[in-house]
């Protein structure tokens, strides 16, 4: 069997950024743990593991231990002592890098969480009356879900493979032919053009590279562009099955051995193919190789919270860790773009899957079912635009969630043939993950059941809850922070999920009940938020939850001091939980406050050598600060070097090659000079893409500004955003009253830029039902209290 030889590393090789800050030189200790490492390696290398019975025996032994450690009942004090001992040990081990310690911490975490859940199930379910029973069971189900996802997550990412690129043979005549597919539907040419130009600049023999624009919009403008640059423009006479159908149609009339697929806004780096195709030559059963989707613009979370490049974004956990973890189990998912597929295998599974709206993941699943492999290389080799606004972002996630739920129904990875056990787990986790909607809302509202209805959802004393729940939460947090810290900061998952919970909950439920229901929505790219506004419509669910929680808080505080003052400890516990929920909800409010996009075009930050030649023949060396197709921002070595509106020539460098572009100075203040390119020829446009966005290292250092994850710091940051969110909300309500007579209008100013400048349509400013009602309420209140102020 020609399974690829995996690039396993030694036990202590993968380093985790999260703990570096504390790894002081400890030579003696390292020696001690080096001994342990050696012992573990010796155990691992033991020949017995190759023997089936030994393995089975070990598994059974471990499972029995797991069951025992989960179910042994201890007194409250005993549990407290046990839990604190394990916790202290975990906190100590956390200072050391190495997979061994990660594994130990996973064991601790699994144990603490399992004990908690076992205790919850056996001792705390209150079946007194139907209200108690209902809330209690709902919460336990949500907790079981969370526990399952936690365990599956550990299994999935236990040992990220971190596959390295495989070198290509030196003789280029042996290289295979590659087709580049760039499917597009309604995106403007400005979005697609850089992608096509970058694809043309790929370092691959020209005669072995064919570039196809798969235009479902059937636009003459695209055909004209394709002709002018010498790529092929393919259309079909229907739009069946959207992108998947588009690709399948193109597969019929093309013939390259490999097919690389790029979404129309994903600009590939020139090294993309040489870094990816090597594995296909080595592993003949490899059907698909995925690279990360990197985003050159901030997504709504990053933009609205101002955390771009500082805090890992929502997708990064998936591309930074989960895919690498999947790769170990040969379960890398196809993500629809920035990937290479082998034509024969793609055709064997019937092309890109059309049964679900997440055609990509389903395609990979089909490949795995036929025994083919997939691979992942975690080096960003293409970059695209992130979703423009929260509503669009939510729309995209809804599609993913619905698609995953569909796959769960129509082609459930737990059943059917061809998959290994771990592949089934990985796929299940991916799908299960998208069912977080309901559990997340349960957690956000759970304390209210007590505060409103006095339902005893956890039938235990506050002390007992503390000794079981706290270890569970602590272990889960520190272990996840260690494993995921570089790719997701602590507590941010809560924020991401809380924001999407309501929206994901409905479509997943619908798709689970009837997978055929629901339509495919295309993710819009290239819009622009013109001015700051609060998206009332999209935040309606959070506002309702917020209102409920605030009410709960009031009731709790009243109960604490004035009324109905019994079960104080339970009240306090529920109040703390409510406050936590309010923090998370406040942060989602902050996300829904769409901050203005300052630049008209997508400015991509950079720091590369540049040169400015003025009309008088003087040449200055400078640095390019940001770029777009429209222009460049330059940092000059001294102030006032270039006159406004003067013509100049700007050079950019790619290695030792220099490219010159005619430009006009459109901005000059202090050392900052903004230039706008002046009628670039086609060749110059290609050169520009090549020495900026398509450079091989264009996306390498993007995480340099990262702050290292620390659980407490993560919590602090969320609190900060939460405060900002409430501030925005208050401000908007205030101004909302003053402006309630004026309708909000947005002006659309067409400006040039790298990508389409098409602004969001005015109707995308979501007034929303709640907002209208609130405005009316405010007006009425005002009229009652003071004389109305007309502005």
């Amino acid at each position: 069997m020609s399974k690829p030889k995996r690039a396993y590393r030694s036990v202590n090789a993968p380093e985790f950024k999260g703990v570096d800050r504390r790894s002081k030189p400890r030579t003696v200790d390292r020696y001690k743990f080096g001994k342990i490492n050696e012992f573990v390696i010796a155990v691992r290398e033991w020949y017995g593991w190759e023997h089936r019975y030994w393995r089975a025996a070990a598994m059974i032994f471990a499972f029995v231990l797991f069951l025992v450690s989960m179910s042994v009942s201890l007194s409250l004090l005993g549990q407290a002592i046990y839990a604190s001992m394990v916790l202290v040990l975990a906190l100590y081990l956390r200072n050391y890098t190495g997979t061994l310690f990660t594994l130990v911490m996973i064991v601790f975490s699994v144990n603490a969480s399992s004990r908690y859940l076992y205790w919850r199930y056996t001792e705390t379910l209150s079946m007194g009356n139907w209200v108690d029973t209902f809330f209690s069971v709902t919460l336990v189900i949500a907790e079981v879900y969370a526990w399952l996802v936690l365990l599956l997550g550990y299994a999935q990412t236990i040992w990220p493979l971190r596959r390295l690129p495989e070198p290509m043979p030196e003789d280029t005549t042996q290289w295979p032919t590659v087709d580049i597919f760039i499917p597009t539907y309604n995106e403007s040419l400005k979005v697609v053009r850089p992608t096509v130009l970058a694809a043309m600049a790929l370092d691959w023999p020209r005669e072995k590279l064919n570039i196809y624009i798969l235009d479902d919009g059937r636009r003459e403008e695209f055909a004209e562009f394709a002709r002018s640059v010498g790529v092929l423009h393919l259309t079909r006479d229907n739009n069946n099955h959207a992108k998947a159908g588009n690709i399948n149609e193109a597969l019929k009339i093309t013939s390259g051995e490999f097919v690389a697929i790029f979404d129309c806004d994903h600009i590939p780096a020139r090294s993309f193919l040489q870094l990816t195709v090597g594995w296909f030559l080595r592993d003949k059963k490899l059907g698909m190789l995925q690279t990360p989707h990197h985003f050159l613009s901030p997504d709504p979370f990053e933009r609205n919270l101002g955390t771009f490049r500082r805090v890992p974004n929502e997708g990064e956990l998936f591309y930074g860790l989960i895919q690498d973890g999947n790769d170990l189990w040969n379960a890398t998912f196809f993500c629809g773009s920035c990937a290479v597929t082998r034509r024969t295998i793609l055709l064997e599974v019937g092309g890109v899957a059309v049964e679900t709206v997440t055609e990509d993941a389903h395609t990979a699943l089909k490949m795995h079912r036929l025994g083919y492999t997939t691979a992942y290389i975690s080096i960003p080799q293409a970059a695209g635009l992130a979703t423009e606004s929260l509503s669009i972002h939510v729309g995209q996630r809804i599609r993913w969630a619905r698609g995953m739920a569909q796959i769960f129904r129509v082609d459930n990875p737990l059943f059917g043939k061809g998959l290994s056990f771990m592949q089934r787990l990985c796929y299940s986790n991916a799908m299960l993950h998208f069912f977080y909607g309901l559990p997340r809302m349960v957690f956000l509202l759970a304390p209210l059941s007590y505060l409103f209805f006095q339902a005893h959802i956890i039938n235990a004393s506050a002390g007992a809850i503390a000794v079981y729940a706290l270890p569970h939460l602590f272990h889960a947090n520190i272990t996840n922070s260690r494993m995921q810290g570089a790719h997701r900061h602590s507590f941010w998952a809560e924020l991401y999920e809380a924001t999407l919970a309501w929206y994901i909950f409905r479509p997943t439920l619908v798709a689970l009940l009837n997978p055929k229901f629901g339509k495919f929505n295309v993710t819009a790219k290239g819009g622009l938020v013109e001015k700051e506004f609060f998206d009332w419509k999209i935040s309606e669910p959070y506002l309702i939850m917020l209102a409920l929680n605030v009410t709960g808080l009031f009731i709790g505080v009243i109960r604490l001091f004035w009324w109905n003052r019994f079960e104080v400890d339970t009240v306090v516990l529920n109040l703390l939980w409510t406050v936590y929920n309010l923090v998370i909800l406040g942060a989602t409010i902050a996300v829904a406050t769409e901050t203005k996009q300052v630049r008209s075009s997508h400015r991509v930050n950079c720091n590369q050598k540049a040169m400015l030649k003025l009309a008088n023949g003087q040449v200055f060396s400078c640095r390019a600060n940001d770029y777009s197709e429209g222009g460049l921002g330059l940092v000059m070595p001294a102030a006032n070097m270039a006159a406004l509106n003067s013509m100049a020539r700007v050079s950019l460098f790619m290695g030792e090659r220099e490219f010159v572009f005619p430009a006009k100075v459109v901005f000059a203040r202090d050392t900052i000079v903004g230039v706008e390119f002046d009628n670039l020829s086609l060749q110059q446009q290609m050169d520009l893409v090549q020495c900026t966005l398509a450079r091989a290292d264009a996306w390498l250092d993007w995480d340099d500004n990262r702050v290292v994850d620390r659980p407490l710091a993560g919590m602090k940051e969320i609190c900060y955003h939460s405060m900002k969110g409430y501030q925005h909300l208050w401000h908007d309500l205030k101004t909302g009253v003053q402006k309630s007579y004026q309708s909000r209008e947005k002006e659309v100013s067409p400006e040039r830029g790298l990508f389409d400048q098409q602004a969001l349509k005015p109707d995308s400013v979501k007034e929303g039902f709640l907002r209208k009602k609130l405005s009316v309420l405010f007006r009425v209140g005002r009229r009652l209290l003071v004389r109305p102020v007309r502005s």
């Binding site: 040169m611 003087q618 060396s621 000059m636 020539r649 050079s651 220099e658």
Partner: protein, 256 residues
């Protein structure tokens, strides 16, 4: 002491400018640097703010059988220089005849001025082959060939190579010969193409970054200043700094 000979196959390629600015950059890096002008044009001193009326130079000292000691000047920019001297045609012919009689002339004179460790001596030579180039090449540790990216320069490549080969290849104290493109302007296709071709021909013997055509360089001469003083931010200065770093790394490699 490292002796760098700056040569060029043709005139007008900015060899003296490169030599002076290279020297100033090396000096700014803390090295003692001496410039020796072997070019009858006697223009090097003007870059360093010398009095144009001063006629003194190595020719006079040599013809009077005196020492360079009396014609070495300190400039304001951290480098000392030995000018050629303002000479009549007769003096020049006599001088050159003397040089061809005395192949060790340059070596002896430099030895006499002393050899500090860590110091650089940069020899500026007249364009094309001459008795000066001959002497410079036979003692240089490192040769920097200044070219401009045009067909004429490119055509002389093989001839220069054979010249270098003749004088330098067999010497154990020779670190290597390197090329740099001056007056480069990527706007002109010919410039770009010649550079590309020269890169493939010469490989890492061509300085990775050319010196760009820059008005500031000419203006600096008119101001009788090295470019780094006159226009510190101009591209050419940046290029020369890179060139200097690159050459120093070559020297370091060879010494090691």
């Amino acid at each position: 002491m490292t002796v760098i000979a700056v040569i060029s196959p043709k005139g007008g390629v900015g060899k003296t400018t490169v030599a002076v600015n290279l020297a100033c950059t090396l000096a700014a890096g803390g090295h003692p640097v001496r410039l020796v002008d072997l070019d009858p044009q006697n223009a090097l001193r003007l870059h360093l703010g010398a009095d144009p009326a001063d006629v003194n130079g190595m020719v006079h000292q040599t013809l009077q059988q005196s020492s360079w000691y009396y014609t070495e000047y300190d400039s304001a920019y951290g480098v000392s220089f030995v000018p050629y001297g303002k000479v009549s045609e007769f003096e020049r012919i006599t001088f050159e005849a003397h040089l061809s009689q005395t192949p060790e002339w340059l070596r002896d004179n430099l030895m006499e001025l002393g050899r500090e460790p860590n110091s650089y001596t940069i020899l500026d030579t007249p364009p094309g082959p001459s008795v000066y180039v001959q002497q410079a090449l036979s003692i240089a540790n490192l040769v920097l060939v200044v070219m401009i990216p045009d067909a004429g320069s490119y055509a002389t490549l093989t001839a220069i190579e054979s010249l270098l080969d003749y004088y330098c290849a067999n010497r154990t104290d020779f670190y290597g010969s390197y090329y740099v493109l001056n007056q480069f302007d990527a706007d002109h296709p010919l410039n770009r193409d010649i550079k590309t071709v020269m890169q493939t021909v010469l490989g890492d013997r061509l300085a990775p970054y050319p010196i760009h055509r820059d008005e500031s360089l000419s203006e600096a001469l008119a101001y009788q200043q090295p470019a780094a003083q006159y226009a510190p931010h101009c591209q050419a200065v940046d290029d020369i700094v890179q060139l200097t770093d690159w050459l120093q790394s070559r020297v370091d490699q060879a010494v090691r």
